[in-house]
């Protein structure tokens, strides 16, 4: 009996568990890149809390004695461009992972800055569903440590050589739409209205039903949008949910066009971005959502036994750089847990100098290669139900350009709600 079962097991389990090969070229490259990075970087200083704390104490002494000198950011070339990281690399000709030797790293201070976009959901005071608020912060080096150097409402998204501003506009009838425009148009007619402004146009569009939109992801030029629609006169308990990926230009204010159906909704299908992927959605709906450590793809599928509800299936693909220019962690999860046991997600800079460790109630920004990283850690509190929808990095001379741009376009929300 056992012999027969053993034979069957050996035959059936002879191949690997899955029809797709998990150890593919992508993973091999990732390992080799990690190896390159590890070889160029100093020995991890985060192996134990004791070592970490000791290094911090030594650094206190060093700073007190005036040993540390931060070069600061002194360059202000007039032609600095606000390029996303992958475009910066192409222009400057230097790779993302050109990490200098140990001494250079420790003297270099912080090369990276990042824009972090957050969404906060709350029950809709005007009816069913939720409404969302957005804010963006620019976190960059100031006085030798990461600090919030600009903050404002909406999502400020680097797009090519400019910045776009995405806002959520409430229509006064329970709906909320996402609208985007170049940031420099944000104060102009036809630009981006204030989040709570609504307006006649929006109200007209809502008269056929209620549409609520939420931003799930923003990066480079694409956004992932969740759209919930209550048709006019329909049961409010049975909204229709759609998830789209769009070019941000598709969010340019034209509220009269869309009622949430695929025939009229401008969007970018998965096959347009990943043409070689055979699996995936039948239709054009898909979503980019955050999973710990990476941006991931989900697509809907009708499934038996779910009473018509759709299941959002995971699709194990790597998003192309056109969508996510940098989506690789420079730290292992064991190192992340050593730095912050409460972290449930993390982002690291392409330069390998900053980590954003995401807790449920805060983001901790750690210059983890500096010997006194613990002292130089910035903690940004998150509000309840606030989630990250965008992290975009700038390096070196682009940091100053981003600081200037962010100071121009990031403003506290004005207007009443």
């Amino acid at each position: 009996m056992d012999d027969r079962l053993d034979r069957e097991l050996k035959e059936d389990l002879a191949r690997g568990p899955l029809v797709r090969d998990g150890f593919d070229e992508r993973l091999r490259r990732r390992i080799e890149e990690r190896l390159d990075s590890a070889r160029r970087s100093p020995r991890r200083m985060l192996l134990s809390a004791a070592v970490y704390a000791a290094a911090g104490m030594l650094a206190i002494a060093a700073v007190w004695m005036g040993v540390w000198r931060f070069a600061g950011t002194e360059r202000h070339p007039a032609d600095e461009l606000a390029l996303p990281v992958h475009e910066q690399a192409a222009v400057s000709g230097q790779g993302y992972y050109t990490i200098p030797d140990r001494q250079a790293l420790m003297n270099a201070g912080i090369r990276s800055a990042f824009l972090i976009g957050l969404r906060r959901d709350e029950p809709n005071p005007e009816g069913a569903g939720v409404i969302s608020e957005y804010r963006t912060m620019l976190i960059a080096e100031r006085d030798g440590m990461p600090q919030v150097v600009a903050e404002g409402s909406g999502i400020l998204m680097p797009y090519g050589q400019e910045f776009w501003l995405i806002r959520a506009v409430r229509d006064g009838a329970g709906g909320q739409r996402l609208i985007a425009a170049p940031a420099e148009m944000s104060g102009a007619a036809g630009g981006v209205p204030a989040e709570s402004a609504g307006g006649e146009e929006a109200r007209d569009a809502a008269s056929g039903g209620v549409i609520q939109e939420q931003l799930l992801f923003a990066g480079n030029r694409y956004v992932s949008v969740r759209q919930v629609t209550w048709s006019a006169g329909a049961d409010l308990s049975a909204p229709q949910e759609r998830l789209w990926v769009k070019n941000v230009e598709m969010l340019v204010a034209d509220l009269s066009v869309s009622d949430g159906t695929s025939a009229e909704e401008s969007n970018v299908a998965l096959f347009e971005l990943i043409p070689d992927e055979a699996a995936g959605p039948v239709g054009e709906e898909w979503a980019i959502i955050r999973e710990p450590g990476r941006w991931a793809v989900r697509y809907p599928e009708e499934s038996e036994g779910t009473e018509g509800r759709r299941i959002w299936r995971a699709l194990p693909v790597t998003l192309p750089p056109a969508v996510v220019s940098h989506d690789r962690l420079d730290l292992g999860w064991d190192e992340i847990a050593a730095m912050d046991p409460l972290a449930r997600d993390a982002y690291t800079s392409p330069a390998g100098d900053l980590a954003a460790l995401v807790r449920s109630d805060a983001v901790r920004v750690v210059p983890y290669r500096l010997p006194d990283a613990a002292m130089r850690t910035l903690t940004v509190p998150l509000e309840e139900s606030e989630t990250i929808v965008m992290v975009q990095w700038a390096l070196d001379q682009y940091v100053e350009a981003w600081k200037r741009q962010a100071a121009l376009w990031l403003k506290p929300e004005s207007g009443d709600r």
Binding site: D12, V19, A287, I311
Partner: protein, 187 residues
């Protein structure tokens, strides 16, 4: 292909301080055992992404400790042991206990877990689905026995238990598989 530790040992010993020789050894290891390591990591965790992360850590650890390798174990058993230890570390970590999807689709409660999705869609056959549904200690021993076809001694080494414990787990694992197969054939 590294049939035994001999070639690996030769590569490392020939130039222990030569980074290129060590990289060459790592590439050889990945060519020969990349799939074995990933499949074992996936079998333990049932999570695609975690299997990726574990595989990465295993080969980086192997790279760092190549000089410690001795032919007391086969290369494959050595790597499987590192894989298991790394997988258990990952699963124990505070971070991974808190892993949740952080965005709206997950909050709606309509998602099956990502690991179920992957197994349901991509498992090679029903037997793999059944094995992957077993508790970890039973599926591990069955996979080491039937997929990797390790000896009792090697299984004991990878699992860090005695050969007697391996026999006992295999016995119970077979019973559970028979029960699953009977249920499946009853429809």
């Amino acid at each position: 292909m590294l049939e035994s530790g001999r070639e690996l040992e030769w590569i490392v010993c020939a130039a222990p301080d030569d980074p290129e020789a060590r990289r060459a050894a790592l590439r050889e290891l990945m060519d020969a055992y990349g799939r074995d390591v990933w499949n074992y990591a996936f079998s333990i965790t049932r999570k695609w992404d975690m299997a990726d992360d574990i595989t990465q850590e295993v080969f980086l650890k192997a790279f760092r400790t190549l000089h410690n390798f001795r032919r007391v174990a086969s290369v494959r058993t050595w790597l499987l042991t590192i894989t298991r230890n790394t997988a258990i570390d990952f699963m124990r970590s505070a971070f991974l206990r808190k892993v949740t999807l952080v965005d709206r689709p997950a909050e709606r409660g309509q998602l099956r877990s990502a690991e179920q999705e992957v197994i349901e869609r991509l498992a090679v056959n029903e037997t793999w689905k059944q094995v992957l549904s077993l508790p970890r200690k039973y599926r591990e021993v069955l996979i080491l026995f039937a997929h990797y076809q390790l000896s009792l001694k090697e299984m004991a080494e990878v699992l860090g238990v005695t050969e007697g414990t391996v026999k006992s787990r295999l016995f119970h694992a077979r019973r559970k598989m028979m029960s699953l197969k009977e249920k499946a054939s009853d429809g």
